[in-house]
Amino acid sequence: MDNGRLDFRPAPVDPGHREPEDLERPQDWGGGPLMGDQAGRGQGGRVFVVGLGAVTCLGSTLEETWAGLIAGRSGLKRHESMPRDRFLQDIAGVVETFQPGPAEMIGEAAKLEVRSIHFALEAAREAWRDAGLHERQTPSRDGFDPDRVGVLVGSALGGMDLFENEVAKAAKRTTLAVSPYLIPGLIINQEAGQIARQLGVFGPGFAPANACASGGHAVALGGMMIRAGEIDLALCGASESALTPMIVNGFATMKALYAGKPGDRAESDPSQASRPFSGDRAGFVLAEGAGMIVLASETAVERMGLRPHAELLAWAVNSDGHHMAMPHGARIEACLRTALDRSGLEPEAIGHYNAHGTSTKVNDRVETQAIKAVFGSAVSNLAVASIKGALGHALGAASAIEAAVAVRSLSQGIVPPTLNYQPDPELDLDFVPHQARRIDLSAVMSASFGFGGTNNALIFGRIAS
């Protein structure tokens, strides 16, 4: 890139690089910058993506998910496990192939019958392996310090499956006793807690609970904490499984969920129910899953020899201050614009926008307007795609999955399609309909917006090979 920011070349030894002369070194350290050297200075170091993981209705790994996405497959269908006498909608994105690991492997997590916790563990392990890291890795001379690894993993709704199961059990009891695992399973930070336990990392843990923006917020938080020098590595993401009667019916009742009119094209083919940016879009399809991204400081990448997939160039997080559930175009626009400004890139440098694109009437219109306002004339060369056509909407996890997929798009030069697209005269962008497209990308943006009026935008830059 002409501004040099995207030219990452591992520099094994760079004497004098950000090294204050007066800092004492342990005698046996072997020279080179210490991981903690940046602590508290907040001098704006670079942040890299070094690991990715996902569990979705297209597969229990990011690889399977990616293969399905670029082949144009959908993971959405009707489910007998969601009968219409209990669920107002039976089309969903269910992770069907997944089984939690045995107690021998996952320890106390086996006691927590909360699917989102198990998705989170699975995706975290995948991302950690992808980063070339090992579970319960010991502090080492190459700079790995488990006290300086943050786990920033959130969820919109947490253990709703456990909650509803326990309510049903309690109704049959003659006493008021409930499972001792109810509370440990319900707290949103239990995903982060179990990941820390499984991986053996002891830095700060946070659980962004920001509705459908949770995962993107986690990535932004990871970037902030690394740049501030608080941590060297951040496992960021979100996990969600809330396909319960109360949650499905709650979304359906507020008219957010897909509800086709008689004769709708999804009647004969349920995989067409989610159709982001289409003229006949009729609400989102609820899904479950998890997405994880491992971020690393520049120093960590250099010292530990990590292989970056991309650079996290910029992020922005803001609030609508507007409405409990409706998006606010002006604030979404401000969020995208702030991220772009912070990246130092011209709009033309961003070739792909991985959209929130829920397939609701309001979101897709408001988001399209915001994209046009921010990208201006550069929008003609912007490939906008929503993978929710294939994966449905996994709430908090969706933005983490989408960020991971956006990074994969960047490194592979392939944009997955927006499935089931039929033009809407009001929404005149290039939505990459039906088929994946090869595009040489140097930077991508992924954005998401949550109920409660909370937005994020992330910009990733390609690593020069």
Binding site: Q99, R173, T174, A177, P180, Y181, P184
Partner: protein, 95 residues
């Protein structure tokens, strides 16, 4: 999902069949590893490694499964598998 079966345990004063059923509920509630040896005299906490939180879950599972009520004050006395099984046997609903 296949259910793990508890190895038969015997030598107890209570019916072997009920003992095995109780042991199975304990194993499942506390997610004990499949290879954890369970004897009638096994102490729930000291021998089986069940912590105080798990113990609440074990008692709840046994209540749900066998339809008996376990008084909170009695839990401290139910230290072994055999004691728990005897307690359940004395309170099983008569068919």
């Amino acid at each position: 999902m296949t259910m793990r079966t508890t190895p038969p345990i015997s030598g107890s004063a209570v019916a072997d069949d009920l003992l095995s059923q109780v042991a199975d509920q304990v194993r499942r509630a506390a997610k004990l590893p499949a290879d954890r040896i369970m004897q009638p005299s096994s102490r729930l906490v000291e021998d089986l490694g069940i912590d105080s939180l798990d113990l609440v879950g074990v008692m709840l599972q046994v209540q749900d499964r066998f339809g008996v009520e376990i008084d909170d004050d009695d839990v401290v006395k139910l230290t072994t598998l055999e004691a728990l099984t005897t307690y359940v046997a004395q309170r099983l609903p008569q068919v």
